[in-house]
């Protein structure tokens, strides 16, 4: 039972941080942060990374302080972790199909004997 009572000024501090981060993410969206190539066909878009990182930080602030998870028992954290872990599984394994579909070429007889070459290598 979360008997812990969070002082109002903590709430206000979290609130102001959230507003600040919202402004930040909006501002940053209009600045080109560039892209970095990895391998031959994919890039990391730093704007996307920035936006997601900021969103995760905002989420953590809400979860830990507004939702009192900082003061909650371990079972609560386990439930939250399970939810996100399962979401991660779903996204990762689905993307392992959706993004990797074009990776195998047309089978040739000799390729049965050789390892399948990946476009990157």
């Amino acid at each position: 039972m979360s008997e812990h009572i969070v002082p109002v000024k903590n709430y206000v501090a979290v609130f102001l941080s959230l507003l600040f981060l919202t402004g930040l993410t909006t501002k940053v969206a209009f600045i080109d942060l560039g892209q970095t190539a990895i391998g031959k066909t994919h890039v990391i878009d730093w704007n996307t990374v920035a936006a997601l990182v900021i969103a995760v930080v905002k989420m953590l602030l809400v979860v830990l302080f507004f939702m009192h998870v900082k003061y909650s028992p371990g079972l609560t954290r386990l439930v939250i972790a399970a939810g996100f872990f399962w979401l991660a599984i779903m996204i990762a394994l689905t993307l392992s199909d959706e993004l990797a579909r074009g990776w195998t070429g047309t089978p040739q007889p000799w390729s049965l004997l050789l390892p399948i070459f990946h476009p990157y290598l």
Binding site: L75, A82, G83, W86, I89, M90, L93, T94, S96, D97, E98, L99, A100, R101, W103, T104, I116
Partner: protein, 545 residues
């Protein structure tokens, strides 16, 4: 030799106040919050749906007696197998043990007065009924022909049948499962009696907990899948239409992300029942309690990692296929471990062959066969040959019927005296169990052979050379049908005319057996304090009562 004999000193049924006679009238049932009454509401509903799904199966098997089809048009045949699958999966198997035996037993086995949220429990039943009504409406107005898998773009763009109504029915019923799972998880965490530590819980509770984890984390995703199909049909937008950039396989990922774990929703509770039956009728502690408990949790977790094995031949990335294949082999391990544990429990036990035990023994054999054949399907290469054939049909029916349904029937028989306060005639029950076993094998073993020889599934016609095996399968189905009708008759008969059962006709261990049969509404006069391990059988036959 033993037959369950009523303790002659036991007072006749109904003379003590219990949950059945505590109040009368239809309103006391429709507005109840007593988990035991809700369990019976579910029992009636899912039995009804079972016979709807079973009727579709009977019609299919009659049709397949002849290579060119003996009964219906191909379009109708498509609707029959779709209705059979949808009703049996979503409206019978998924709720079967959790909503009936789970609802009844979870509070009793842990020493609680009810579930954590009794009103949510009643709501879950009403949600189930609403979902069932939508689906029955769809069936009556002409059915659906997409298969229970609703694959796009056929279901979203081309099918001319009642897809939206059926998808809506499935969507709504999913919430019933979610509410049940939520209730079980909170109840098991927060309402165990003093002394009832996690490792003193009956393995049935572990099974219910693992099943509830799957309910919670998987069902919402199939809800989204159904929603998107409905949206696409309704608005004619191209979410899964390749012509506008949609990906039909995305639907399959969303669908199978739930539907593979769903098959573990269907089997884990049955495994929980088997642990209870095997220990009671061998009068022996379970071999390797914590291993069985952990295996249940391992199955729940790993089951979410393997769904792509339903998509090996769909054009899914071969790399994803590799990953899913390896993980599918992993998921077989905890199931196999459980089979070893049950057989080790039987070894040197004091075994008796009442009907529940016959169902349990049948389960162990048939589930093993079903599980082993799953390995052929987990291997990418052999799955290419077997996918879309009757081999798959036989595989999953060995698990779902030979496993889950037999576990369900075994559990119903085992706890029937507790639920109703009556004994059923065990001789008839054993006979029916044998009829079910014979009928089942005659129905489905030929289907392994048909599949291996290449007969495709979901086809209304087939080549002449497959007729003998098909006729065998249909003959078996008729026997199986009879096998299911017999318990319906004697169980209903026993509710009125069966002899009174004492608190513990089987001499079993567990908190539920320490209450009168039927139990009072509040389950326990005083919340018990637990000091013993589970399955504290001493090896000698217990005295009754």
């Amino acid at each position: 030799m033993s037959t369950a004999v009523a303790d002659v000193h036991e007072v006749p049924v109904g003379s003590h106040v219990n949950y059945l006679n505590a109040s009368y009238g239809i309103k006391s049932w429709l507005f109840t919050t007593d988990h035991k009454r809700i369990a019976l509401l579910y029992l009636a509903s899912i039995t009804f749906m079972f016979f709807i799904g079973g009727t579709a199966a009977v019609l299919m098997r009659i049709h397949l007696i002849e290579p060119q089809g003996a009964l219906v048009q191909p379009e109708t045949y498509n609707k029959l197998f779709s209705i059979h699958g949808i009703v049996m999966v979503f409206f019978f198997l998924v709720p079967s043990i959790p909503a009936t035996l789970g609802n009844f037993l979870v509070p009793m086995m842990i020493g609680a007065r009810d579930l954590a949220f009794p009103k949510l429990n009643l709501l879950s039943w009403y949600v189930y009924i609403v979902g069932a009504i939508f689906t029955l409406y769809a069936i009556i107005s002409g059915g659906v022909d997409t298969g229970w898998t609703f694959y796009t773009p056929f279901s979203s763009l081309y099918s001319q049948t009642h897809v939206i109504a059926t998808a809506l029915g499935v969507f709504i019923t999913g919430f019933s499962s979610i509410l049940t799972g939520l209730n079980f998880i909170v109840t098991i965490h927060k309402m165990r009696a003093p002394g009832m530590t996690w490792f003193r819980l009956p393995l049935f509770i572990w099974a219910m907990y693992a099943t509830s984890v799957i309910f919670i984390l998987g069902t919402p995703v199939v809800a989204i899948a159904m929603f998107l199909v409905g949206l696409e049909r309704l608005l004619h937008v191209g979410i899964f239409d390749p012509a506008v950039g949609g990906d039909p396989l995305l639907f399959q990922h969303l669908f199978w992300f739930y539907s593979h774990p769903a098959v573990y929703i269907m089997i884990l509770p049955a495994m929980g029942v088997i642990s209870e039956l095997v220990t009671c009728f061998a009068k022996k502690r379970i071999f390797g309690y914590s291993i069985v408990a952990f295996s249940s949790m391992a199955i729940a977790v790993i089951s979410f990692l393997v769904w792509g094995h339903h998509m090996f031949v769909t054009g899914q990335s071969v790399y994803a296929g590799l990953i899913f294949s390896v993980l599918s082999f992993l998921v077989a391990i905890p199931s196999a471990i459980k089979v070893f544990n049950w057989t080790s429990t039987l070894y040197k036990g004091s075994i008796s062959y009442e009907a529940p035990m016959l169902y349990a023994l049948g389960f162990i054999g048939l589930f093993t066969m079903g599980g082993l054949t799953g390995l052929f399907l987990a291997s990418l290469a052999t799955d290419v040959h077997l996918s879309g054939t009757y081999f798959i049909v036989a595989h999953f029916h060995y698990i779902m019927v030979g496993g889950a349904v037999m576990g369900y029937l075994g559990g119903i028989h085992f706890w029937w005296p507790k639920i109703t306060g009556r004994l059923y005639p065990d001789a008839w029950a054993r006979f029916a169990a044998l009829v079910v076993f014979v009928g089942f094998n005659l129905t489905f073993f030929p289907q392994f052979m048909l599949g291996y020889l290449g007969m495709p599934r979901r086809y209304a016609v087939y080549p002449e050379e497959f007729q003998v095996l098909n006729v065998m399968s249909s003959a078996g189905a008729s026997i199986l049908g009879v096998g299911y009708l017999i318990p319906l008759i004697y169980l209903i008969w026993s509710m009125r005319y069966g002899p009174a059962a004492g608190p513990n006709p089987w001499g079993a261990r567990g908190l539920e057996w320490e209450t009168p049969s039927p139990p009072p509404t509040e389950n326990f006069e005083e919340i018990p304090v637990v000091t013993e391990e589970a399955y504290n059988y001493t090896g000698a036959r217990q005295t009754l009562g």
